[in-house]
């Protein structure tokens, strides 16, 4: 009796241990389109802290422009989509350490980033901007002297402002993600927030009366889907995919749904 109880205990213990260790198994990510299809799911990194491009919906699932593009990737590959939440700061390490197959997370295309990863053709138009209430007199970066400027760590606004922050006496404050930076804006903890072209609408909806507006466009941007370097097969498929959804109206529908704007002409490369 006692021996049997011990066996039951040991079996239960090993099951529990096995289950708890499962998440630590080495990440198995696909390198080619065939491997993704064979696995039956595509693992996509999305940002869930940014209004319009990615938030967590009421059902706990990511929603927004980027998650919808990811769902189309799944649809056209004929596989399930598994979402992984990434931030501006960790999306590149997540890609490089094989935790995701691709990153669809407001990834602005720059030559510096392209030294580490590959970008697909652009699938969205955006800009790195600075937003503040209408009452704040800011017309250029020089007007930011002495102001508290909150940016998401590692985002384009951070990269553009960091080299000039000290010389121009900008009090640059880096938050772990865009949602916290925007919340700091609403709480009055910062004077100017670094974000995108359209987020001022969300701010005005949630914090009425301040009339948030885009003060400075730091740099126009296009977003690309990020993949690991050397995955020529996946890159070719993604570019074909973006070409298709641009021409069949599906990307335009996503743009109208989340940005309330028709899809602008997107450059190709």
């Amino acid at each position: 009796m006692r021996a049997r109880r011990r066996t039951v205990f040991l079996v239960a213990l090993s099951i529990v241990l096995g289950l708890s260790l499962a998440p630590f198994a080495p990440a198995v990510t696909a390198q080619t389109v065939d491997e993704i299809i064979k696995r039956g799911k595509v693992i996509v990194g999305v940002n869930t802290t940014t209004p319009i491009f990615g938030l967590v919906g009421s059902d706990g699932q990511p929603e927004g422009y980027d998650p919808d593009v990811a769902r189309l990737v799944g649809k056209y590959l004929g596989v399930q989509v598994e979402f992984v939440s990434v931030t501006g700061a960790n999306r590149l390490p997540f890609l490089l350490t094989n935790r995701v197959d691709m990153v669809i997370a407001l990834f602005g295309i720059t030559p510096e980033r392209a030294q580490q990863i590959w970008f697909s053709m652009p699938y969205a138009t955006e800009a790195a901007t600075l937003v503040a209430p209408a009452s704040r007199a800011v017309k250029s970066v020089d007007d930011l002297a002495g102001l508290r400027v909150g940016v998401p760590r590692g985002a384009m606004q951070d990269l553009i402002l960091t080299p000039q922050a000290a010389a121009k006496k900008i009090n640059l404050m880096r938050f772990d993600d865009e949602a916290t930076a925007l919340q700091a804006m609403v709480s009055g903890q910062i004077d100017v927030v670094g974000t995108g072209l359209l987020v001022y609408r969300t701010l005005n909806r949630n914090d009425p009366g301040k009339n948030y507006e885009v003060k400075i466009v730091l740099r126009p941007l296009h977003f690309g889907i990020g993949i690991r370097r050397g995955q020529i097969d996946l890159l070719q498929w993604l570019n074909t995919f973006i070409y298709t959804i641009k021409n069949n109206g599906e990307l335009d529908a996503i743009s109208r749904k989340w940005r309330q704007l028709p899809l602008e002409p997107l450059p190709v490369f």
Binding site: P93, R174, F175, Q183, A184, Q189
Partner: protein, 222 residues
Amino acid sequence: MDYVFQFGVVWREIDALLLGAWLTLRLSALAMVFGLIVGIAGALAKASRYRTLRLIAHTYVEAIRNTPFLVQVLFVYLGLPSVGMRLTPDQAALLAMVINLGAYTTEIVRAGIKAVPAGQIQAGTALGLSRWQIFRFVVCLPALRAVFPALGSQFILVMLASSVVSVISAEELTAVADTIVARNFRSFEVYLIVTGLYLAMCLAFQGAFAVIHRALFARWRA
């Protein structure tokens, strides 16, 4: 693995990392001092004969010990401005750390006070010591001595927990590391160095605790 390690690009940032470590050290040291004061006050409140005081201390300890530190940090920085209390990230981080550490320290010090035998206090009264003298020499010091190791490890824990205040843009060690990684993507090298810095700070604090222990309690060693 075909990752090429490049520590050179990270060493170039060592000044920024050390600056971050300095803020971590300052925040932690201040939190330890004020947290201990809050903890002693809390423990006395818990041992008080006034029910209201006991209830307040009890509510504080339970509320803080049963909520995540990250939420406390966000509440202090983003929530308190709604009631007109606006703190800089560093101040908010320090306040959250003091509140958090104070709750844990309350329980630790309370245990120490409970360990002081009643006869010892009666002996103090019999010797004609004042109430303050009894509190200081007969209750507080022996209590702290009894729980010194537990206090030390709690202090170390709050220093390690300070890494989450990067979320409200306090530029402590982890925040600086995250920023560097976001710029050059050398996560392995950066976090390895940061791990070393945290370890060094822990050892430094432990050394300091040992010195304080000797200074305070050495003459009691029979």
